[in-house]
Subunit: 134 residues, 6 copies
């Protein structure tokens, strides 16, 4: 059984690879390569797959998961510039894929290994990413 | 191929374990342990995985699934108090996890075994549960 | 210019008029008259109409409005039984209309008279109420 | 890792099997068998499962996927009558299931075999279909 | 105080003016002029502005409004071709504007004159129309 | 009668008043004052109030409004830093209120005076602004 919690945060970012020249960054990242950054309201859905505790009827108290998401996602990323303010992306392009990967790895360290973890991240209403560690 | 139908119902509930004392119920269930109940608009998505019937182009006529959801979910649970009005939860804490389990088991009895069944239940915009019988 | 803040809460309620007999309550309120209560996730949108402060570019800092909504709406109503736990509805049927009226009156007392106040309340995805004091 | 793109289109259709007589078509397809067609706003979510390219941080540039969806889905189906205007449904009933199957097959031909493809199609807010080629 | 009810229906339509030639119809209505029709899921929000009945706490029982919408909107328009099946549009182009006007006029005849009526119609996620009789 | 078009764009911004010192900017703008910017997915709904053209059944062809929004909103603001890239905010704090005002004024210059214009801007799921020029 999976239980899921949805949270939101918003941040600025810029997509570019410092090993590419400007023309290649423009060709690959287009508008997302804007020198002065742009930004998004990110929505994140985190699902934990595990057994129901018969005493509580919970897989996990979602308040606990929400608190962990505050510490691992909202505190470090909300109202930040992912490229400049967040050491996680010092050497990693902050694409939706990499943001999802970073969040999944942070949660894996915080959550009991009995839970399988799935992370879905929406960068816009139309673009999203899913990762479950496999 | 999976086909899915979304329905909604609303109900009151209270989360507590009668074998716990008040302090432990408060510690575990917090605001959800309110003595006089609180309530939710639940949304449910039921997906059936099975083959397409080449004569109709349907996996199942979703009208049939909708009628079964009326009988098994909306009639017994909508505008009810899950703890007091619904025998399904006489000895089962009506967490989102247990509501999902109860609905999945009811549907498993009503639907042809050729269909795999998935149930997603949203208790709020932020909290949801998924179960597929595995 | 109007600025708006959306919040959510959930609560149990029962619709009945104690001056009606059971048959009339059933006839008028139907399933909403369930003796043991039912419940909803309520969503509320509060809009304040007023001038932009040229120094801040704000009509109001929405954090301030959000804090007032926590005190006047979420603290007293969230995870409660409106009929039993909330003195506001001791002699008032907790229909969506009356909940909206109660909230508007509470906000009118807390907010500077330079703001016109509009309150929209969704009881379900399909049913909503709007009130602006007129 | 999966990345997903959501698009929309709208079209008219009629559900009937020319090998059935009118009574049987009515019994099976009900209102969807209306002789003069009816229509829907379809929403489609296409997810591609594949590895992250370490140079770009992308599984795929979603602009590329969006362009393919324009060519394979929006251009041929948007503002069309699926039964009359679209050769894909000349001998295939345009149920949500078959529309999904047709789109999946079109995308399978256009996309690198390193990507697994998942297609979700919403015909209404309540009815949807999922297919991943298995 | 306003109370509102949301309903949905889906229909096929074609936009053209029989007094224009084909070139002018194409120039003005573009893809919406497709000879074989296309279609939409329409969502409609109807709001009634009136006083709260102190005995019931209702402006109107929304079940009554929902029943009227079934009779005046869903029964005649759902799963229909607006141009061919609906006499309301025999001499009226079924644009979102005109559909809204037709619905408003139908409701005005059915509802007590103490209610002001507002109708919002969504033709797609991005296009909508509002009319209040003024 | 009003017709409305919804569009989206995303941008980075920072809220601060250069005539305030750092402490005052922090006190008033909090997290929104982050030196390195943050960002949002903005959604905008533009409604035009005017008469129906009896020949077309349109208040305005929404394709025309959409094209104007591309030129006046999406081209200048999408994937930009409002503070650094957009001369409109060189001397104006890019709060949701001021962005809405800027857009309304741009549209007023582009649209026939027979239309009244309403602009609603969502900065997040919870925060929005409405302006109609009054």
């Amino acid at each position: 059984m999976k239980v899921c919690r949805r949270e939101t945060f918003n941040a600025a970012h810029r997509l570019y690879n410092p090993s590419f020249d400007d023309a290649k960054n423009d060709a690959i990242f287009g508008k997302c390569n804007n020198l002065n950054y742009h930004g998004h309201n990110y929505a994140i859905l985190v699902c934990l797959d595990g057994p129901i505790d018969p005493e509580t009827g919970y897989v996990i108290d979602l308040k606990i998961l929400s608190d962990i998401l505050d510490e691992e996602v909202k505190e470090p990323f909300d109202h930040r510039n992912l490229n400049l303010d967040c050491p996680e992306f010092e050497n990693l392009i902050p694409t939706a894929e990499n943001i999802t990967l970073v969040i999944w790895n942070k949660l894996r360290k915080r959550l009991d290994s009995k839970y399988e973890i799935e992370v879905t991240l929406w960068e816009t209403e139309r673009n999203s990413v899913f990762y479950n560690g496999k």
